[in-house]
Symmetry: C2
Subunit: 230 residues, 2 copies
């Protein structure tokens, strides 16, 4: 219900700011659609600044009281990786096509969570997409917390232990250059595997991990998941 | 180095878009400072849309190739809570001042991560801020993943087991209405505690949890933390 006309918006905003200030409000939020981008300079001139945005709109905010608390926006990306070990003690490894080194580098299949996706759904999806292998979730093994990731935000990489439900590899050739079952003993010996990846796989072999559980009193499994010690 | 003049920007942008398209680029990123908000409607008219923003600038993006992949922005908030149990088997509990129910509701001290903050630093800070109690980190117990939190983003709530280094409570009266040491047996029996909170405390008592560890090959402990099975 924002006016399309810039002058009309400017007058209405000035009047509203007075009203809201008198009423004792502390913050004003203003959600400006991309199609109304002409209103953004007006809001900026009236003391609004950016808070967050989606593709099609930007949320602006203005304090009516000095020092009024403004909650931050989302701070983290979440990624998942899978330790998939078959009955022959072979580990499902991938080598990414786009990497910094010319030498191959063998890591675990995985990738980023999609918005609103559960960790378990994400790791099953990513392993299937990258390798063509269907897997079953067993446990969460460990995670890495990393600051200074993309756009200055942080990242958490969760590693899951998975068991294979199929064995044939159908590699996603766009992103992955190699994908195969590597004997896990060879993985621990390889120069082409990082110390972190070796430590992860060792933890997956040695530890029961943390498992999903449902908690009484939570109504919607689509919105919540819980990980508890076994 | 964006021009301040709208007409100048409009002409320069049109020319640059042709050049970049000819050069085979797939995406153009445009970081517009709040002080240059007048350029946003120009960019929007030229096919740019919003990607993300900080207080003082908004990042816009435009595809030069149909379907070019654009990575998403941060999707998650992260919060931490602490199970602080003293030698007398008393649990440090808080009741928030701003809550939906008139009845008290006893939960664990904790709060949101600040940008760039480690989980361990955050939980020590939050417990101290809310309760005045100094604590030592013992282990990570469990976590809850929750979609549909603030601004349509998701949230992960990590629960840590902590041991007290001090006992006197200095409650943060702005946010907290009550804070005290409650016998843990009473906590498990109380109607004023959620099933989730009881389950968390039970897990903290029964399980060794997941512990911090440093991984060889990672250079900067300020940027990374790792949690591994014990």
């Amino acid at each position: 219900q924002l006016p399309a006309d810039v002058a009309e918006f400017e007058a209405a905003l000035a009047h509203s700011l007075q009203t809201w200030t008198s009423a004792g409000h502390r913050l004003v939020w203003l959600d400006v659609p991309l199609a109304r981008a002409a209103l953004i300079p007006v809001a900026a001139a009236a003391g609004f600044f950016f808070h967050h945005s989606n593709e099609s709109d930007v949320m602006m905010v203005r304090r009516l009281v000095d020092g009024a608390f403004i909650p931050t926006h989302a701070t983290h990306f979440i990624g998942v990786g899978g330790v998939v070990l078959n009955e022959r003690q072979e580990l499902l490894v991938v080598c990414e096509r786009h990497r910094r080194t010319s030498r191959p580098y063998y890591k675990l299949p995985g990738g980023a969570l999609q918005p609103g996706e559960h960790l378990i759904d994400a790791v099953l999806r990513e392993v299937l997409e990258e390798t063509g292998v269907h897997v079953k979730f067993e446990a969460l093994v460990c995670f890495r917390h990393w600051h200074g990731y993309r756009y200055g935000k942080s990242d958490i990489y969760f590693v899951c232990r998975l068991s294979p439900l199929s064995y044939d590899v159908t590699m996603q050739a766009e992103e992955i250059e190699e994908c195969f079952w590597m004997p896990v003993a060879e993985y621990f010996e390889s120069d082409l595997v990082s110390a972190f990846n070796k430590r992860i796989v060792r933890a997956a072999l040695d530890s029961p991990g943390v498992i999903p559980e449902w908690i009484d009193g939570y109504a919607d499994p689509a919105r919540y998941e819980f990980f508890m010690p076994p």
